[in-house]
Structure formats: structure tokens, C-alpha cells
Amino acid sequence: MRVERFLKDSARRFPDKTALVAGERRSTWAEFADASARLGAALAEAGVKRGDRVLVFMDNSWEAAIAIFAILEAGAVFSPINPSTKADKLAYVIDNCRPAAILTLAKLMPVTASAIDQATVKPMVFSTAGRDGTHAEGVFSLEAALAHAPTPVAHGGIDVDLAMLVYTSGSTGRPKGVMMTHRNIEAAATSITTYVENRDDDVILCVLPIAFDYGLYQLLMTVKLGATLVLEKSFAFPQAIFDKIRAEGVTGLPLVPTMAAMILQMKDLEPGFLPSVRYLTNTAAALPVPHIQRLRELFPGARLYSMYGLTECKRCTYLPPAELDRRPGSVGIAIPNTEATVVGDDGRPVAPGEVGELVIRGPHVMQGYWENPEATAERLKPGLHPWEKVLATGDLFRTDEEGFLYFVGRKDDIIKTRGEKVAPKEVEAVLHAHPGIAEAVVTGVPDPILGEAIAAMVVVSDPGVTARDVIRHCTLHLEDFMVPKVVEIRKDLPKTDSGKISRRLAAETLRPVA
């Protein structure tokens, strides 16, 4: 089934029920479907066709939720872009996937305009009005597009068409677009809502960026269920989020370990302080076992799911909550209708207790990376049958005697910070672009809130360059979560005997933050 059908079905089943609460703005399912149909028709009229890519460069907002479904209504492919993306990377993405249009917000117009200046491809831009109520020259009014007649678009698309491209940090230093069809999304969403035991009366709080697949799927699953999504922009003030949870009767609370750490360092919380919450989920990185125990004390009636996944197949495993006491350090078993196997270098399953690479098989596995056959071939391998591919995750796991999975580490040097993946090479490329830096190496160091913090060791060619200058340079060229927290300036970088800069030795030298 195509994903925009989820929205039509929910609008038919629950027309007057609240679908979306985004800040002060609330929409019913009928209103959500109507707004998406209007914007979808406007996009089609402007020339967006079946299979065209359209970027959604927005923060967690009402407009972003509508935009995603409007793009699908037009038969096109959406690509959510993190709102802290800087112009040079956005320009790279524009030239990489050649979008027909970018949908954005007034506050992100300066970055958007600068990216389009740098890019070879020149997409249309739809934006909300600035504070003065006007739009820049050549920019389409998103407000006007949302007021277009809701004429259905006869795009002729089917469910094996591409639905979305989600860019992920690449080990070569360039982002890669993970290709997912409508069928992939339906498979992943169905599997997850099954084991989480979601219901159509769930009220799900999403404070995770919807440019990140964990956040994005809160929207997609809510639409599939006909439940209610409470979309928030930031977890900066957990108390304000708790007030929202109480006011809206939130039942589902998706977390990453950084959010859990922020909740657990609060001083005045009482067990049962958020009685409406029926379940919590965690993914992106493992929760420390003491955090699991404390969360269970604070949410005594709620189910807690420890999960593991990667954008390339959305989700791989979950630990049934009943198993938490027995194996709190496990991320569980394959999600429904998929297989997860730990294999050795020869591709054969290893014995329990032995470490190997986790391989995923199922209808949720991506189609590959957009126009990047080399990177695709590294991840997608021949499967059991001649017609299928399986996903080599690049993550090392072991199982216990009963087949439950335990994360061991990465095969490569990807850093997990605040739940997001960062390729050290992407940060190093930005450091090397600084005229005063001769050499740089980037690694992750343990951090109690972030999981890992990004740390850089640099050798400067200009003695006037300070650590602060280096961080400021990074803030201008990298998304917030990629900016190093620690920069050490050194005379030389740690090297292996063969003279190669060693990320591992750098990691051993750099001290944990705080």
C-alpha cells in the first residue's frame, strides 16, 4: 500500500479526532488530509511529477508533517533534511538528488538561498512568509500553496515506487541517501506498531527531529494507526514537555539515551509522575542498565522497549519488555516478519557467545543508497534467494544461548552522539578546510549525557588558531550534533608504526568530557 493511503484511511475512519498537535496548532485527521491534498495539488501544478525528489527542510512543525504527505500525494519522493544543516552540505544534497523543489520555513530561507547559489541544480522553493509577511523574489508562498484547491493528483504511482530518501552520515565524509519504497515503509511501520502494541487511541510524543528516521516514523506510524501525534521542537526544557504530556494525555514516549539522561538527572521526580504514559522506547544507542532501572521506577506502569536499528532498514531488533529483568543489556530479537543473524567472516551464522556482524533480512531493508552503487554494494549482499538482498549492518553483535542479541561495537569508526551517527571523516573534511589547520583527527569520547562526544585533535599551521576558533569554524559548516565538543591542539597527531594517523590512539589519548 502507498503511504499516502494511510492518511486517507485515517481521515475516513476518524475525521474529527485530533491528528496532530504542533505547538499551538491542532488539526483533525480531516484537516490534516485536506491540507496535504491542497499542497500536493499545488506542487503537481507547479511541475512536481511522479518520482521527483522534494526536500523538506524544516524543524518539527505542522508544516513539515503536512509537507511530507503532500509530496507523496503528488506522487513524489520526500527527503527530510535536518534544520541545522549548513548551506554547503545542503548544496551537496541538492546536486546529489536533484530535487524538483525544496519546502522550507522563513527562518531557514537564508541557508536555503545560499545553498541554491552554490548548487548547480536550481530547484523551486516554497517557503512560509517572513516576519514582514512577504516572500523573497522567486520563492513560492507555502501559505498560498496550502490554499490551493484540493484536486486529487492522478500520478499513477504504485507501492514499489520510491517514497523517501533519508540522508545519513557517510563513512567517506559525504552523506548518502537511503532509498525506501512505500512498501519498505509499510513493512517497517507495521512491524513496529505490532510489537509496541500501538492502538488507535495512542497519543505519541515526538520531540526527536523528523529529519531523523526515529522521529519521522513517529509521524508515519501515527498516520497509519490514526492515533494522535504531539510534535515538539526541543527537549531543552523537560518540565515543559512533561506539562505537555499531562495536558495531552500522552501514552507513547520515544526516547534516545540523551533524553533519558536529561530526565534522570532531574532532582524532584516521583515514581508515577506521568501516569498516562503506557510505553517508552529507546533506540539509537543502548541505555545504560542503571538508567533502565531508574526509568522503570519512574514509569511503573509503562512498558519499556530497548531497541536497535539503523536507517538502512529502519529497525532491526527489540527486547520484549518482559525480558528486561532477565537480560537488561540485550537489544532483543528480530522485529516481527524479519530475521536478524550474527555471521562470521565467512557469512555463516556463528555460535552463541561468538562475535560477528549482524545481518538483517526482511521487507524493511532499503533499496540502496541513491546513485551510489559502491556504498550500496558494501551494505547490501546477496541473500538466501537469487532475487533478494540482505543488509550487512556493519555492527558487531553476539547472542546468548537463547538467541537474544547484544550489541558489541561498530566495525567502522562511526560515532554515536545524541543518538545520531557521525562519520569522523565528515568532521575531518570540515577541519581540513580551515586554512589554519594542517592535520586533524576526529573520534568519539565517552560522555554521560551525549553517549559519545565528538573530540578533535588538530595540528595548526597558523599558531594564532585557538580551540575556540576551530569549534566556531565547525558550527558554520556542520549540523549542531556534528560539532566537536572538545578540540585539542597538538604538535603532532598520534600515528601508527607505519606513519598513518590513528583514530584509535587519538581516542585513547583524549579524555572523556567532564
Partner: protein
């Protein structure tokens, strides 16, 4: 007084979240979060700074946008806190 608190906090923000970029400007009534001046974990750093610099103690219920999301609100909150603490002492 509020001028002083506000400028101390602004200096802290420039130093820690703008990495010394003195060209940075934000109005006293503009949201620090909405304008991406500080991120979610940055609030924890801000709270630690306010506690130490102004010798005040923040309880969980204090850490809300109404007290901390703009320079004006932070200044007013810190002053209330300082006077409150003194009255209680």
C-alpha cells in the same frame, strides 16, 4: 542591576554557545531555543552557570521556558531568585 545580570549571561552565551563570536546579537525578548542559540543539552550548562555565578539553586520546576528562554526572562528570574534566597536566609 538587570543590565548587569543580562550582560553577564549574554557574555556566557557568546563564550560558550557562540564560541566567542562577538558579532552575535539577539534581542532580550527573543527565544534562545527557537533561534537555535542554545540546544537542549546547552540548557544544562546554562543552569550550572547560573547556579555557580549567582549563587542560586534551581529546582526542576524552575527550569522552564518562562524563566530561561530569553535574556530578559533569565535576568528577571535570576534577580527574583537572588532576592528570594536572601529573604529566606
Amino acid at each position: 542591576m538587570s543590565e548587569t545580570v543580562q550582560s553577564i549571561v549574554k557574555d556566557f552565551i557568546i563564550e560558550n554557545f557562540r564560541f566567542g563570536d562577538t558579532s552575535f546579537e539577539i534581542g532580550g525578548a527573543e527565544s534562545l531555543i527557537e533561534n537555535d542559540v542554545i540546544d537542549s543539552t546547552g540548557v544544562l550548562e546554562l543552569v550550572a552557570f547560573l547556579e555557580e555565578r549567582f549563587d542560586i539553586t534551581l529546582v526542576d520546576a524552575d527550569i522552564v521556558p518562562a524563566n530561561l528562554d530569553t535574556l530578559d526572562r533569565i535576568a528577571a528570574f535570576v534577580e527574583r531568585k537572588m532576592h528570594g534566597d536572601r529573604a529566606a536566609a
